[in-house]
């Protein structure tokens, strides 16, 4: 049967049809739906791992034990998993292992736009790139076969446009693949120097075989047409090329590492002008150049962002982008923002009011960095907040630490904040760390994590006790507050910042978007007699309050969920509640 599927669902389907029985992931846009949708198939095991390193390690174990295994993460997740990746690439597999890296050219939902095809080159790992959902399904299945045939994990590299585009897919039957036998084989799976040395040689040998395979694999195909221009491309950019240059000859690469040198040389000889169309890094282009083949590449395009058909037409044919319509009107920007009633808003209001230096982290709360809250000084990667605050203290001394906090979400704390906290305690830091515990991984669409006590399939499980964990690390000063009780939060913050010891303040209140979050009975309104238009309530940046320019009054609008934050910040008692 044919149906529409997003790329991520097609990958899950492909893994299921290939007989994969184990899948692991840590959520991250644009990869999240892969293992989430795999988890809905019968007879498989899927988990949200605490982070990507654990996800790949569990995947490696499942593979060594003989199961076909799918591991998925966003591009920056592969950095977290890079340590096991670079050694698991030596041991090779038993059951096939496919690692999906979901890259994000254009930074739709990410902190950088790194190109993970580079991992394939460094780790001597085959990299496969589909260009629509059908290929996502088919290539995933093939990737499992290749993984076992060449004894290596395979990277399936996708981008946001593949992950979140729906295209037609014909699904197939699930293959019954029995577990491979498990036999102890220390010289293959124990990476001591002596064993690893031999494995390295094996990896190089099988990579040479992969080079030969690349020349003939059905993953690469030539579409010979008008020979005045030949384009080498892969992934979604292939679709942009077909749209922009329907008559051009194309070498479409499905296997982008290793490259088919001979196939490329032959193709180059057949066309007058050779062009490489690839988003982000010149991975294909530089290799082709290194073989002495003349090629048009990044000098004509860009290292930045996503491509499109009209961009290619402009860069290659000089057809200018359409000018559009002149409305002669400024359109106000519409940045994403914290929801009305979001518990994070209380925290950032207080941090701004106290003029603290804020070492931030990644999650919905990173939106606290933008106007009007503007309550964040740094945000590097997941888990970085605590280490960053520690570094600031060690550079500038404890007085600086007395006006510095680290802010980190619950999912992020479990992902990679714990070791930072251990460092603070071990090396005598005095940081104050706020864990924003909203009982979910909100940013990526409300996935569960060890601290929620629920699994990926919504089964109840052991719940990580974050308080006990923090105490066990050696933090003596632990406070739990409601982040929407801002006077209390401010008081607690002052007390803990004054201490020359590490403190953790858990700001506990569930995300307002979680089903079952209790909604207050009362309504909030503005008493126009008392409102003097001071805009204090506007500066919390809530979608539930509007400022009426003409009347110079605040107004509560339909977006309000009566969290009471504006009521607390109003100095004139003009914001009130009705009992319903």
């Amino acid at each position: 049967m044919k149906k529409l599927m997003i790329g991520n669902a097609a990958i899950a389907r492909g893994a299921y049809e290939a007989g994969a029985t184990v899948a692991t992931a840590y959520p991250g846009t644009p990869s999240t739906e892969i293992v989430d949708s795999f988890s809905q198939y019968e007879g498989v095991y899927a988990e949200w791992s605490p982070n990507e390193k654990v996800a790949l390690e569990v995947g490696a174990g499942a593979s060594i034990a003989g199961a076909r295994t799918l591991v998925a993460m966003k591009h920056v997740g592969v950095n977290v998993a890079a340590d096991p990746l670079y050694s698991f690439s030596y041991t090779g597999v038993n059951g096939g292992l496919v690692l999906v890296s979901a890259d994000d050219p254009g930074l739709h939902s990410s902190q950088n736009e790194q190109d993970n095809r580079g991992y394939g080159r460094f780790a001597k790992m085959p990299v496969i790139e589909p260009s629509d959902s059908q290929e996502a399904l088919d290539y995933t299945k093939l990737a499992f076969d290749l993984s076992e045939q060449f004894d290596t994990m395979v990277m399936l590299r996708i981008t946001m446009r593949l992950a979140h585009s729906q295209t037609m897919v014909k699904t197939g039957q699930k293959r019954e693949i029995p577990l491979k036998d498990y036999k102890k084989n220390a010289s293959k799976y124990v990476m001591l120097p002596g064993f690893a040395k031999r494995r390295h040689a094996e990896v190089e040998k099988s990579f040479e075989q992969l080079r030969e395979y690349a020349e003939t694999t059905p993953l690469n195909r030539v579409e010979m047409n008008d020979t005045s221009m030949g384009i080498i491309t892969s992934g979604v950019p292939y679709q942009y090329v077909k749209e922009a240059f329907p008559d051009a000859s194309i070498l479409k690469l499905g296997l982008v590492n290793p490259l088919p040198k001979q196939l490329i040389k032959t193709f180059a000889d057949q066309v007058d002008k050779l062009v490489v169309v690839e988003e982000l890094e010149p991975v294909i282009e530089e290799q082709v150049r290194s073989w002495g083949i003349e090629v048009i590449g990044k000098e004509q395009f860009t290292l930045l962002g996503e491509y499109s058909s009209e961009f290619l037409l402009q860069q290659l044919s000089g057809i200018p982008m359409p000018q559009g319509f002149n409305l002669d009107q400024e359109i106000p920007a519409r940045p994403p923002l914290l929801c009305a009633g979001c518990p994070h808003r209380g925290v950032f209001h207080v941090l701004r009011k106290m003029r603290l230096v804020v070492a931030g982290d990644i999650g919905c709360y990173t939106l606290g960095a933008i106007a009007p809250l503007e309550g964040m000084d740094s945000c590097i990667c997941m888990g970085a907040s605590i280490g960053t605050a520690m570094g600031m203290e060690k550079a500038r001394g404890p007085e600086f630490a007395a006006k510095t906090v680290a802010v980190i979400g619950d999912s992020t704390f479990v992902h990679s904040g714990i070791t930072g906290l251990i460092d603070v305690v071990y090396n005598g830091g005095t940081s104050t760390i706020l864990i924003l515990d909203n009982d979910t991984t909100a940013m990526t669409g409300h996935q569960d994590h060890p601290g929620t006590g629920v699994t990926i399939t919504k089964q109840p499980t052991n719940k990580l006790d974050i308080e006990a964990l923090v105490r066990a690390i050696g933090v003596k000063n632990l406070r739990v507050v409601d982040p929407l009780q801002i006077n209390e939060l401010e008081k607690v913050l002052k007390e803990e910042l004054a201490r020359r010891e590490p403190s953790v303040i858990i700001c506990a209140r569930p995300c307002v978007l979680l089903p079952g979050t209790s909604k207050p009975d009362h309504k909030i309104y503005v008493d126009n007699e008392l409102c003097n238009g001071c805009k204090s309530c506007i500066r919390i940046g809530c979608t539930g309050v509007t400022f009426l320019e003409e009347e110079k009054k605040a107004q509560i609008n339909g977006g309000c969920i009566a969290c009471g934050l504006c009521e607390q910040v109003c100095k004139f008692d003009a914001i009130k509640r009705t009992e319903v």
Binding site: R161, H164, S309, L327, A333, R334, G445
Partner: protein, 194 residues
């Protein structure tokens, strides 16, 4: 079957239901045996940001995204979002605008002004502009959240796809408890667009 690809560009504010709308339109195209591609935005922008989803259907569709200046129709759930994405419209394309104002943060905070007559400006510039109070119609049908299917009704009338196919798609996609309201809202939109 027509060779030409039809491009529908759907814009709105994160949380307004653009995703569901694109899925309904795509489902109709699937039922009619077209090749279909849909591009969606998930993640960060859904937190109240400006969002876009794109549906393309025809005999054969390559790119999942619509070229600038190549959309046959822009379906806008909110007034300034219609204006923000207007560059994607064909010179003789059609804009369907929900007469709904959702203030973005710079407006709420009084930093910027909301151009409240922007839809009229668009109508002045583009003869094929339809402005509709989809939210009010949806509310009469029993749920403001059905405003998106009111717009689907207008669209159905505008591009002349069979209404039965759209009702079939709505039935397939909308959760059962919301179906009656959605079908009613769709029919109101269809009538308004006729």
């Amino acid at each position: 079957m027509q060779d030409k690809v039809t491009n529908i560009f759907i814009v709105g504010v994160g949380g307004q239901g653009t995703l569901l709308t694109s899925r309904i339109i795509a489902q109709v195209a699937v039922q009619m045996d077209f090749d279909v591609k849909v591009s969606e935005i998930h993640g960060m922008a859904q937190r109240g940001g400006s969002v876009v989803s794109q549906v393309r259907y025809g005999k054969k569709v390559y790119s999942p995204i619509i070229k600038k200046g190549d959309a046959d129709i822009i379906l806008a759930f909110e007034k300034i979002e219609a204006a923000r994405w207007l560059d994607y419209l064909k010179p003789d394309g059609m804009v369907i605008i929900n007469n709904e104002r959702v203030n973005p943060l710079p407006v709420m905070s009084g930093k910027e002004k909301y151009p409240d007559t922007i839809h009229e400006k668009i109508a002045g510039l583009l003869p094929k502009t339809v402005i509709i109070d989809a939210t009010a119609i949806a509310s009469q049908c029993g749920n403001v959240r059905a405003a998106n299917v009111v717009l689907v009704g207008i669209l159905t009338a505008a591009i002349g796809i069979p209404a039965e196919e759209v009702e079939k798609a709505i039935t397939a996609i909308v959760p059962a408890q919301a179906l009656q309201v959605n079908l009613a809202a769709f029919r109101e939109g269809l009538a308004a667009g006729a």
